[in-house]
Symmetry: C2
Subunit: 347 residues, 2 copies
């Protein structure tokens, strides 16, 4: 269409599977994409976003010089889809956007609730964002499916004793970085060694459970506890995103079960299976509530989900909320109720 968008100026930092799906969603909504950023030296550097994402007419070029590209493009908001944790590399990505005066919305799972761990980088980033009068928010599939649908459901119960989730996602939908994090293709011995030898970072659901507790007004008695179990291939299974076959007996991925006890006596838990799927499998999201005596009360299920895609779509629908939010790191529990926007700008 020839109509020019008057919405926010949007940059995307990270042009992997997630970044490119977000570009397709933004393009369909006629959003105003002004910059695309990749690692310096990436083979995507210099290529057009439209070509990379398979959408016509998007002539913006992927650039490796983030600070300069943002200075020139003057985005209102930068979408960051680089990695999971708030480490030094990711801090650099966020702070470059913040220093350019742009809000940040990200899929980085730790950013859903960066204060759920004692994070110096989170405190520094919060101060930097306040200095520059911009907002930094983490969102994604969790926002809708692991937090807000669950909390609204709990708002219809007479007596909340427990909240228990079960969900599954396909490693093949998220690109090779996540496949490696899910230990796809490793042996059970390698996995057992990794579990004991490595100082593991918190799971994705760790951050979601702490956020859910906040949204329901519950006070954690301590950090969520995790149990991790391997999911073993019963037959040779091809992993598309790694371009390799996982041999029978090796790991398709693993299941994390996190449990959070609260001072109010409500127990929150979620069991999240991330693995390479076989042909017939699809994502689901399922939650059950119990009363304080353990009796089942309420149930919610989303079937045939496309978790990778809802992650991207949820982020896009949070853009107006993040632009309207106060400066600093703002977690989703402070944002208005998640909703669909026919236009990405308020009013």
């Amino acid at each position: 269409m020839s109509k020019t968008s008057e919405g926010p100026r949007i940059a995307i930092h990270g042009l992997g599977a997630m970044g490119l799906d977000i570009i397709r969603i933004l393009h369909r909504r006629r959003a105003n994409i002004v910059a695309g950023i990749v690692r310096p030296g990436s083979d995507k550097e210099g290529r057009r976003l439209g070509e990379l994402a398979g959408v016509p007419g998007l002539a913006v070029t992927a650039r490796g010089d983030a600070a300069r590209a943002l200075r020139e493009a003057r985005p209102d908001i930068v979408i960051v889809t680089v990695s999971t944790y708030l480490d030094d590399t990711q801090y650099e990505v966020f702070s470059t956007a913040v220093k350019a005066g742009a809000d940040v919305v990200t899929l980085a799972e730790e950013m859903l609730h960066p204060f759920a761990t004692d994070s110096r980088l989170a405190r520094d980033l919060d101060a930097l964002a306040k200095d520059h009068r911009v907002t930094v928010t983490g969102t994604g599939h969790q926002d809708a499916y692991w937090v807000n649908l669950v909390s609204v459901l709990a708002g219809s119960t007479h007596d909340l004793g427990g909240v228990s989730g079960r969900l599954s996602w396909n490693v093949d939908d998220f690109g090779p970085v996540l496949a490696q994090l899910q230990r796809v293709g490793t042996t059970t011995e390698e996995f057992a060694h990794w579990l004991t030898a490595v100082e593991r970072k918190p799971t994705f659901t760790y951050y979601a459970l702490h956020t859910l507790a906040d949204v329901i007004g519950l006070t954690p008695r301590g950090p969520a506890e995790s149990i991790t179990e391997p999911v073993i291939a019963q037959r040779d299974t091809y992993c598309k995103t790694l371009g390799a076959t996982v041999e029978r007996g090796r790991l398709l991925g693993y299941t994390d079960t996190d449990t959070l006890h609260t001072k109010e006596g409500v127990t929150l838990s979620v069991s999240s299976q991330g693995k390479v799927y076989e042909e017939h499998e699809t994502d689901f999201n399922e939650w059950r509530l119990t009363d304080s005596e353990g009796n089942p009360t309420l149930h919610l299920r989303n079937s045939d989900l496309k978790t990778a895609h809802t992650t991207c779509a949820t982020l896009v629908n949070r853009i107006p909320d993040v632009i309207a939010a106060r400066p600093g790191i703002v977690s989703i529990e402070e944002l208005p109720q998640l909703r669909y926007w026919t236009e990405l700008h308020h009013g």
Copy 2:
């Protein structure tokens, strides 16, 4: 427990099936119930709420003199579970509470969105509530299941073209007033005559669809359109709430299908079946989203629901929000996100 509640002072006007379930929920949460009100001359007048609701130790007596009972009990909020529509009788109930300086939270379905029709009584009540600096809000099962869960789900889609719901509730759970409204036991001829001869009031889902449109930021092109179809008994079926058998060939209830077209091109519809259940049936709530080309995108289902009970529990969880809201008629789209409250008072 001997601990005295410090929560809001709560009165209940209407001690039918819904009012008594609400009393049981409030009692369990150790809420401060200060008055119960029934129709003057009701056989419940003078009886204790604890005895009526089957909970021990609740000595408050049901009274027929609403104005005086409220003046004496000084409730912060009055829960109204009397009937569906904002007619003259219901206006009298609300205005008595408002004049006593109490907020009002009600299950009256029209009050979910009383401005969805051109209602003089709603304008009068809004002005009266503002004069007395109190809030009047309609809530219930719809709040969670037909509006807010659906809108949060839509917040995770990339392209919203249609929203379509399907749900079922058991007339036997709601008492004889609703059973008669659902035409239980009438013949198909009587039903057909009623449909053509009677000026029907809007359906329950009519108000929910208009609220859902508001919450998603959509502008109706006109009022929602309704189609009503009878549900015929395939065999003699006992209706508990009427204490009578519905003969084969007569109505167990009916299904309303409402459709709302919006200026943004998104179509909202919901098909609501309210009937006398047979042995094996349970309530469900199911929603499907489609994109603007009609392709299915997202799905949500709640199985084995107890709609009558979630109606009551949702109302109880809205008490803190209504107490904190601005004066006047405040629809749920203005309230914070529905959530569970371990304590019914803020802070």
